[in-house]
Subunit: 185 residues, 2 copies
């Protein structure tokens, strides 16, 4: 399908607002397709990976983690930010091992998607990890997580209860269920 | 499952960085579970809804839209920000009609999830709309979209090609495929 250039918003001015250790914020004044102008508030992010780790006995490895923006703990699949220039596949192996201790024999790319394209450029690369071998976790010094292995039924229950409620983990859950349903066919 | 308070990060100081028309940005200094301090860069967002509109003949209604943070057009399910105090269900009906012209007889809640809990508090409420009746679209004055009706196979193809590549739409795609697979059982 061809790109529709008549939907494009051309940049008139860019104003840097904030440059932090993780995100950068800018305001762009844009020229709209109808010739008028508007502003766009944009968050720049280095991108990240997430891993759906599936054990041989049909469980998913998840981590419980406190998320300051939400002021609560939630249960998520392992994930982490890309380091500058890092290959997403290398990052996926690294983050899985750092957060959970597991090493994966197989890391299959499932999808790459923008988490919030209305205001942020964060892209998340999602992998399915299998052939898992346990080992010691090595979280970052400001990272505190608890690891659990849960079945699909338990994961769906945690989703119902609102303990699993971030986009990448809900997406991974639907993708996992999809696999299970297709394997039954 | 009980909340694990020993993972909590307590706020030491909060510094407001930016207050825009859509997002607000703050830096929190936090006390970590190990007694050390760190900083968290946090984006506040009003929250949003997204709608997976399914037609009686098995198609999904999507919109092609230019996304300034990505500098490209992508194909997404209809979505939009919550107005202050707005009921997500009311917002879902409103956004579906504004962006695509369709009115829905049924709007079923599928999931609510945080799009990027590492740095943002944006929550997205996802609904499945059925019983669709076409009508005229009424997009916002700075919103330019093209509406399409596509099959599941076409949607999976657009995902493969990278035209569908935002979290909510990929998630909706897996949820839709699950429904189709389960209805075959």
């Amino acid at each position: 399908m061809e790109q529709q250039n008549d939907l494009q918003e051309k940049t008139v001015t860019t104003k840097q607002i904030f440059s932090g250790k993780v995100i950068q914020v800018q305001i762009d004044e844009v020229l709209l397709p109808n010739g008028k102008t508007s502003t766009r508030e944009i968050v720049r992010h280095p991108g990240a990976v997430a891993v759906l780790p599936l054990t041989a006995d049909g469980k998913m490895i998840v981590v419980r983690q406190f998320r300051k923006p939400l002021e609560r703990t939630i249960v998520e699949i392992p994930a982490g930010k890309l380091e500058k220039g890092e290959d997403p596949l290398v990052c996926a192996h690294r983050e899985l091992e750092e957060e959970t201790g597991y090493q994966a024999d197989s890391m299959e790319h499932l999808s790459s998607f923008y988490t919030s394209p209305g205001f942020a450029d964060e892209i998340l690369h999602l992998y399915i990890a299998t052939g898992l071998r346990p080992g010691p976790a090595r979280p970052d010094e400001d990272e505190f997580v608890e690891t659990m292995a849960i079945t699909l039924a338990e994961a769906k229950n945690l989703h119902q209860q609102g303990e699993i409620r971030d986009a990448k983990t809900v997406l991974a859950l639907f993708a996992w269920e999809n696999r299970v349903l297709q394997q039954r066919d």
